[in-house]
Subunit: 409 residues, 2 copies
């Protein structure tokens, strides 16, 4: 892609309403643009990051034998009355049509999926079952001040699993834990598996928490990895020695990037979702639900991976792999661009007629992992290669660079 | 995919509320399931069809140098007041938050995109510009009785183009006509380019109309291809001889699967979207908009491509390429399934322990293009191959079948 043609350039001044690091950097970099509080446009650069995150999430969910479907945002009010959440779900948007009918605008999809599953599942032969979607959710948040970390409209992967008994549920819950760890590792996040409130029907749920000063959550954890609890439920105090001798427990601010939740039979009971076992006996179905906020994940990566110059994207979800910058030498830049594209490398070429300083500053802000410079000084065939993360750079031939396959998309 | 594991099986009884062919067949086939009137769940089979349509649409829009972005459903009321559509857009859903603020729930995105483009476009150097998204739209339709042809929530590709002058606009409008023809041809539809009302600011817009008895639109057209107008604007009568001697003009019912629309400066003027030309003079930007309903396209294909047994998917958007049916011989079916999968062929294997008749009826209903039968009678290595469209079948070796690359995904 030629940067001169790309819709959504870097900008200098961000609205004072954007107070979060993720919204400031993503807006300045030309990834997102605020529509209203808590609602964003994703410009072409931003959409590319989202697509890469979605691909990773899909791969891991499919690997865990989950099937993708797509449920609607407009839901059935009756189902929300059945579960009692029509009046108790505090951030539920209620939409009124011109005929006066009311509809919940989906903040979650248990009320859609459980009745849907009931239409197809009746026997032990139909279980276990795992279903997920990547879909837009709506929540009537009163304060939406943290950029794309907590939006009123956001993209979420929500997965629901259905089991004949607790043992089968436990097995799948552990499998999902692994899938979740894989997702967070692959997008470049250290996520801490943390015990949290299980609601009225389970002892615990589990959250994946990423340490960062701007987090809205707080956890107490052992850096050795054997203990982490959300402070909402923690009975131990910061400073206490961990049981395995890893040193004192620490209290830190975090962002919740995922959560997995045993639902027991809460929703199955509400809708009468049962199965017949091998003896023809009717039993309730055990459920779990598992969420990852796709847009929140993107925002969290920015909160964690940045420096004073801008964003530092992990390779796996960077919008492009290579940022090509030419200082003069347009003719060779054109050839280098074509060679990179033909080698299957995702490249953004800053082909504008502006100063080297401006190009470098924009490249640092946008945060693409590898910068390649061609210039009159270097001449033809030689490039300067610099990693966004490391300070050093080196020169090599473009040919040699193309031979290194590791950075290819 | 093994059919026994697939979520969303064929069903016999469809709610009497489903009166359209597309909703009946897609519901019976396990592709969709109604949530509320005009709002559907897309089960795994249905989502596969949608993904294939989206891929074709993306390829054609990208080929026309359009850039993909993603705009939100929750929009800014102020912008709708600026264009005057807050009070005049008849199917606009208005959402009220708990703080009392009102938001339009996007039925279209001019009010989002034009202000957004204004933030980045100011010079003739920034033009032309073409942007599109594939996104969920909401319309407060009073009657939503035609399945996924006219929903209250539906997936749409909407594209907007921005030009310095009429000449450049005309050039791009023609380019979009070609892109649109490509899309409809590739999904297996004969779409007739039809003149329709251009609103208050253009002589004509253009619709792509597909002839079918269940259509809500009506056109008068020449089968020779040199004339088609929506009856809303047609001044000629059915039966009149076409100017090129192709015979009498016909009046038929149609479904509008796409429309392209010259917007002139309607929205640019509303938001003050201008550009500086080479002489520093300020000029209004000329716009066009171009829509394809993704879910409507899926419904239209079903309305057109079906017979008394069920759906007949075109190869390009079928959920799977091969429907493998075994009559006994489970052991060889298992091997054939693996061989097909390993050859990169998308295959649905009906591995259930039910009668051959039930399997064949379901395969006909689901409508996958190629059916492969393995049986005790045929033994190992030999398969019966039948096209969903044609009546004849033949036997060959699986090896020979795998060598024919034409049906591969």
């Amino acid at each position: 892609m030629k940067y001169s043609k790309l819709f959504g350039k870097t900008i200098k001044d961000v609205s004072s309403e954007e107070t979060s690091i993720n919204a400031k950097l993503l807006t300045r970099g030309g990834f997102i643009r605020r529509e209203i509080a808590g609602v964003y446009n994703f410009l072409p650069l931003g959409l590319k990051v989202i697509e890469k995150i979605e691909k990773i999430v899909r791969e891991e969910m499919n690997s865990a034998d989950s099937q993708e479907l797509l449920m609607p945002a407009l839901q059935n009010k009756e189902s929300w009355i059945v579960t009692g959440r029509w009046d108790t779900f505090d951030v539920l948007f209620k939409l009124r049509s011109q005929t006066g009918s009311e509809y919940p605008l989906g903040p979650s999809h248990e009320e859609v999926l459980v009745p849907l599953v009931k239409q197809f599942v009746s026997s032990y032969r139909d279980l276990p079952l795992s279903l997920y979607q990547i879909q837009t959710k709506f929540r009537d948040e009163l304060r939406a001040k943290s950029g794309i970390l907590r939006g009123r409209e956001f993209i979420m992967k929500d997965l629901y699993s259905f089991h004949a008994d607790e043992k089968d549920f436990d097995k799948y819950y552990k499998r999902m834990m692994e899938a979740y760890s894989n997702v967070f590792r692959r997008v470049g996040l250290d996520a801490i598996l943390t015990e949290a409130s299980g609601g009225a029907f389970s002892e615990f749920s589990h959250e994946y928490q990423v340490i960062t000063e701007s987090g809205e959550d707080e956890i107490i954890y052992c850096s050795g990895g054997d203990f982490a609890q959300n402070t909402e439920i923690a009975k131990v105090k910061e400073g206490k020695e961990c049981d395995l001798g890893h040193g004192p427990l620490k209290k830190v601010k975090t962002i919740e990037v995922g959560n997995i939740f045993p639902l027991a039979t809460k929703f199955s009971d509400a809708f009468g979702l049962v199965y017949q076992d091998e003896n023809g006996k009717s039993n309730p179905i055990i459920m779990g639900c598992y969420g990852i906020g796709i847009t929140r994940l993107m925002g969290t990566v920015v909160e964690v991976h940045n420096d004073e110059k801008g964003i530092v994207w992990p390779d796996s979800i960077a919008p492009y792999k290579v940022h090509l910058v030419n200082i003069g030498n347009v003719k060779y830049a054109e050839k280098a661009y074509e060679d990179l594209v033909n080698a299957g490398i995702e490249v953004l070429w800053d082909d504008r007629d502006v100063s080297a300083g401006e190009k470098f500053a924009d490249a640092d802000l946008i945060g693409i992992p590898t910068r390649i410079v061609v210039s009159d000084k270097l001449g033809e065939g030689t490039i300067e290669v610099k990693s966004r993360k490391e300070k050093d750079s080196h020169t090599e031939t473009l040919e040699a660079f193309l031979d290194t396959a590791s950075i290819r998309g």
